[in-house]
């Protein structure tokens, strides 16, 4: 997965490239990629409110 955009979700997970739901789970390989992306100085977009 090549990361272009990351948006936080209300539960701490991420929506990546406006396509994929990446969980807040250190054992998930895509979560690890998001953390590397953040460590490179990138910042995720703010989360939308929780669904009603």
């Amino acid at each position: 997965m090549e990361i272009q955009t990351v948006k936080l979700r209300y539960d701490g997970s991420y929506r990546v490239n406006d396509k994929w739901g990446v969980p807040n789970d250190p054992m998930n390989k895509d979560y690890q990629l998001v953390q590397e992306w953040i460590a490179e100085g990138n910042t995720p977009e703010e989360a939308d409110p929780a669904p009603e």
């Binding site: 406006d18 396509k19 994929w20 739901g21 969980p23 789970d25 054992m27 390989k29």
Partner: protein
């Protein structure tokens, strides 16, 4: 002690050899002796050659029952039969079939989908310029600026195999930059490697075997790394001898008393079959034991598949097992392999439909709440519990675009919610109309 010196001893009828009803003891004989009797003790003879019991002429023939109260050693390969402990050891082949040197007789293969039978993501994937799981399950093609490739699950294999995994180069990289690479990989979950006892004096060796085919011949690299031991590395050279020909290869991986596999669901052991790379991975040499990470050792024998258009690397029948002996491939049923693969990847589509296929077959469908809401009433329970919380891909049944679901007749953004190893539910954003039908496909990816 008295001494008898005669030329001949006969029975008292002078018709033949003497009868010895209480047995006969012969000592001090160092060369051949012919004895025919019951209750015979031979003492002081270190080597018996051409011992004939019962009148036969081969080296040793016992026409009745026989018993050896000690350990029988046969030949020079240390094949021993220990009747006291019920142990037979040193046997490598039975009825022309190789036998494990240690470990179980079933469930020997630590590789899932080693026969390349399962391909949930599809059987063909073109234009690959970055790493991915392109076709067959559990086998990623790791790629960094090293050409363009087409991946296929081929209906071609050596005897006994109907499928194989093929990577075909469509844009070559004749001179890879130092950091470029193209390599087939496989990762084993750490908790599935505890029985190897790495990090202890009881660590056991492994043997990997596989069938490989390529248009290129020469030396190539196989490598493996331990994630939980600072990427301790072992690599070894194998040779592709003939072009466009299936060849069987075996490589023994030594035990590592200094290694480590955490007892968890994370990455444990990485296996690599190198195709092409730059000098960062080729500058070293192949060690004879596990060593601290040296990237240059990983592809010290760079065969260079991908340095010309139409180069290809094809492989199947991958087996990794405990011990130093490669045994015949342990074929498992398609259903068994598919279930094992689903711990790492699952989809709602029918098996033959790759994710993104425009189809309603297998789609989740439900009616949204009667109020304007983002709740879709689409709840997913995975067919197989996942290794870890998976990455979720959502698709409208009318579109190949990821991240969308169908609400009424429109495709709008969908999100997985409360995702865990067992399932999730789907929300729509914006909510869209209420009290309408909504539907979606999904993929759940928990690969290592």
């Amino acid at each position: 002690m008295s001494k008898i010196q005669v030329n001949e001893i006969v029975n008292h009828f002078d018709t033949g050899a003497p009868d010895c009803p209480k047995g006969l003891t012969v000592t001090g004989v160092t060369t051949s002796v012919n004895i025919s009797a019951t209750n015979v003790s031979v003492i002081g003879v270190s080597t018996l050659g051409n011992v004939v019991v019962g009148g036969a002429t081969t080296d040793l023939v016992v026409t009745g029952d026989a018993r050896i109260t000690g350990i029988l050693t046969v030949g020079t390969a240390s094949v021993t039969l220990n009747g006291n402990d019920g142990i037979i050891s040193g046997i490598n082949t039975v009825n022309d079939v190789s036998f494990p040197s240690t470990g179980p007789l079933s469930n020997r293969n630590l590789i899932i989908n080693g026969a390349m039978n399962v391909a949930q993501r599809g059987t063909s994937n073109t234009g690959l310029t970055a790493g991915s799981y392109p076709t067959v399950d559990r086998f990623p093609w790791s790629l960094s600026s090293c050409g363009t490739w087409t991946s296929t699950q081929e209906s071609d294999g050596p005897t006994g195999f109907s499928k194989s995994f093929k990577m075909l180069c469509t844009t070559a990289d004749a001179s890879p930059a130092s950091t470029d690479y193209a390599v087939l990989q496989y990762v084993i979950e750490a908790q599935d490697l505890q029985h190897l006892n790495y990090g202890t004096s009881d660590a056991v060796p492994l043997t990997v075997s596989f069938w490989v085919k390529s248009n290129k011949t020469g030396n190539a690299s196989f490598a493996c790394l331990q994630y939980d031991a600072s990427l301790r590395t072992f690599s070894k050279q194998y040779t592709i001898n003939a072009a466009n020909t299936w060849e069987y290869k075996t490589i023994t991986i030594p035990a590592d008393a200094s290694g480590q596999f955490d007892d968890d669901n994370g990455q444990g052991l990485l296996l690599e079959w190198w195709s092409n790379s730059g000098t960062n991975y080729t500058s070293g040499s192949h060690p004879t034991t596990w060593t601290e990470l040296v990237h240059g050792n990983r592809n010290a024998s760079n065969i260079g598949i991908g340095q010309a258009v139409n180069d290809y690397f094809q492989i199947t029948g991958i087996q990794l097992e405990v011990g130093t002996q490669a045994t015949p491939f342990e074929h498992r049923s398609f259903g068994d392999e598919l279930k094992r693969c689903e711990r790492y990847f699952e989809k709602s589509y029918t098996y033959a439909s790759p994710p993104g296929t425009t189809t309603s077959n297998g789609v989740l469908a439900g009616r949204k709440a009667a109020i304007t809401s983002s709740l879709t009433n689409l709840n997913v329970r995975f067919g197989t519990r996942k290794r870890a919380t998976p990455t979720i891909g959502l698709y409208s049944p009318d579109s190949s675009t990821e991240g969308l679901i169908k609400v009424d007749s429109s495709d709008i953004t969908g999100n997985d919610q409360d995702t865990n190893e067992m399932g999730f539910w789907i929300s729509s954003n914006p909510g869209g109309a209420a009290n309408v039908i909504c539907s979606a496909h999904y993929t759940a990816d928990a690969e290592l």
